[in-house]
């Protein structure tokens, strides 16, 4: 028999650590979504346009600066000392993923706004035409952006990838939380972000060709995500005692039902099968599967953030 008593009862740590609430999974979800939208917008900027894009596709890149602002607001709400948030920008700590993230977020704004601006149809820019008069500062920026569409596309892909990967690395670098402590969380969150980005775009009035492209891409992304989840589980299950204890949380532990139903069955397998059936029967990918993908992406981050905080270093009683 082993019995442990502990006089410590610090709020946020005991009985199990619980420092991050609903704000963090919501931010991670929005961050992934923005990463996906930026990468798709960037890819489009790199390609020669064969036909005119739908109005929805032209305007969707604006989602990036809006959604990332919302996400950063949630992050800010989570801070215990929110009026010190500016301290993030007085330092760059190379070993701190959160420091990387703070600077990446700063880079997301200019590249996503400039690409969204040049993708916006000129007819919608009439009300602000006098701001971008030739020769003015904004006018020069406008001209430069139009001439640098491919460069902006590349930068959107790079910043989107950095944003998507860092949200996973942020959790993955903590040895004290074995459920997170996997380098696969970076690519997993990036691929999930691309998938939710594609699903979000499918909610709007895209053309049939655009829907088919995103639907096919999403099937590949969901399949990749399933493989990454499988590898992540193998890594934990074959790791040390702390890793095995952590993965047990989704194999019989308290997060089993939520993980397998919300993330795997409803969030990945159901939309994968749905999209496959839609494409097989000649239908364009619809909104039902897209909503499932979005809910699944959110559930993945929600469950990982909460289960990961519950996971800890196994107490090595024999050591004493």
């Amino acid at each position: 028999m082993n019995e442990i008593t502990n006089t410590r009862h610090n709020h946020l740590i005991d009985p199990t650590m619980h420092v991050w609430g609903w704000e963090i999974p919501l931010y991670l979800f929005l961050g992934g979504l923005v990463a996906g939208i930026m990468i798709f917008a960037g890819l489009r900027a790199l390609r020669e346009e064969r036909e005119k894009p739908s109005l929805a596709l032209s305007l969707l890149p604006w989602t990036a600066p809006v959604a990332i602002s919302l996400g950063m607001f949630f992050l800010w709400l989570d801070l215990e000392h929110p009026f010190n948030a500016w301290r993030f920008y007085l330092a760059f700590k190379v070993t701190s993923p959160m420091s990387w993230g703070a600077w990446i977020l700063l880079g997301v704004y200019p590249v996503s706004i400039l690409l969204a601006w040049i993708d916006t149809p000129d007819s919608l820019k009439v009300p602000v035409a006098r701001w971008i008069a030739p020769g003015s500062t904004l006018g020069k920026l406008d001209t430069w952006s139009r001439e640098s569409r491919r460069l902006l596309g590349g930068l959107n892909i790079a910043m989107g990838a950095a944003l998507g990967i860092y949200t996973g690395v942020l959790l993955g670098t903590m040895a004290a939380r074995p459920l997170w402590n996997s380098a696969l969380l970076g690519p997993l969150f990036l691929v999930s972000g691309l998938s939710t980005g594609a699903a979000f775009m499918l909610l709007f009035g895209l053309s049939e060709r655009e829907r088919l492209f995103l639907g096919r891409a999403d099937m590949g992304l969901i399949s990749t995500e399933l493989i990454l989840l499988f590898l992540w589980i193998i890594g934990l299950a074959t790791g040390g005692s702390s890793s095995q204890g952590a993965v047990a949380m989704i194999f019989g532990g308290p997060y089993t039902a939520a993980f397998w139903t919300l993330v795997v069955a409803l969030g990945l397998l159901a939309p994968l099968v749905g999209e496959a059936l839609e494409l097989k029967h000649g239908a364009v990918p619809g909104k039902g599967t897209a909503i499932l993908v979005l809910l699944g992406g959110f559930a993945l981050r929600w469950i990982l953030v909460f289960a990961g905080q519950d996971s800890g270093w196994v107490t090595e009683i024999a050591m004493r």
Partner: protein, 182 residues
């Protein structure tokens, strides 16, 4: 201060788990209600009559390779005098990454300031010439020892050289400077 590396040694053979160190710390460091920088961890092993008990006074391990310092985005968590791990509340945004990164669960948020907080090895005393930490001074069984690990003649170095000892979670790779004698 480069030749000083502060460490703490707890004698689990003489500790009775009275929690005077917890009260001493609370009084000295004015920690908020319901929060403490040190605590008593008691492990009971076996079935009667083959029972053994280990009592540990635990706190921040002032790691040489501290994950809390690595993850801190603002530099609020940093290495201070004598290789200790210290916190500058003026730089802290309360992001709580350090709490999540600490395998010893040694940190908390002080609700009065919103900044992270933890044991300082009583550097405000040590740096001003008081030779003891408050937990060490109050310990009725003199089970807490504090001193320079890099000085072979210090009490902590002599204890570690002559007694069997262990550290908590050595495989976490944190290189803690907080030792338990058995």
């Amino acid at each position: 201060m480069s030749d000083v590396r502060y460490g703490m040694v707890i004698d689990t053979m003489t500790c009775v788990g009275c929690a005077a160190c917890v009260i001493g710390c609370k009084t000295e460091n004015d920690t908020p209600e319901e929060y403490s920088r040190d605590w008593i961890y008691t492990l009971l092993q076996g079935v009667y009559p083959n029972v053994r008990m280990a009592i540990e006074s635990q706190r921040c391990n002032h790691c040489d390779n501290a994950p809390c310092v690595e993850v801190c985005p603002t530099g609020a968590s940093h290495y201070g005098a004598g290789g200790t791990v210290q916190l500058n509340p003026e730089k802290c945004s309360g992001c709580k990454a350090c709490i999540a990164a600490c395998p010893y669960e040694a940190r908390y948020i002080d609700p009065r300031s919103g900044a992270a907080d933890k044991c300082t090895f009583c550097m405000h005393r040590i740096e001003n010439g008081v030779p003891t930490t408050s937990c060490q001074e109050i310990c009725p069984t003199q089970s807490i020892h504090f001193g320079n690990l890099d000085d072979p003649d210090s009490e902590v170095s002599r204890l570690l050289a002559t007694r069997e000892w262990y550290v908590l979670r050595p495989d976490a790779g944190t290189k803690p400077k907080h030792f338990y004698l058995r």
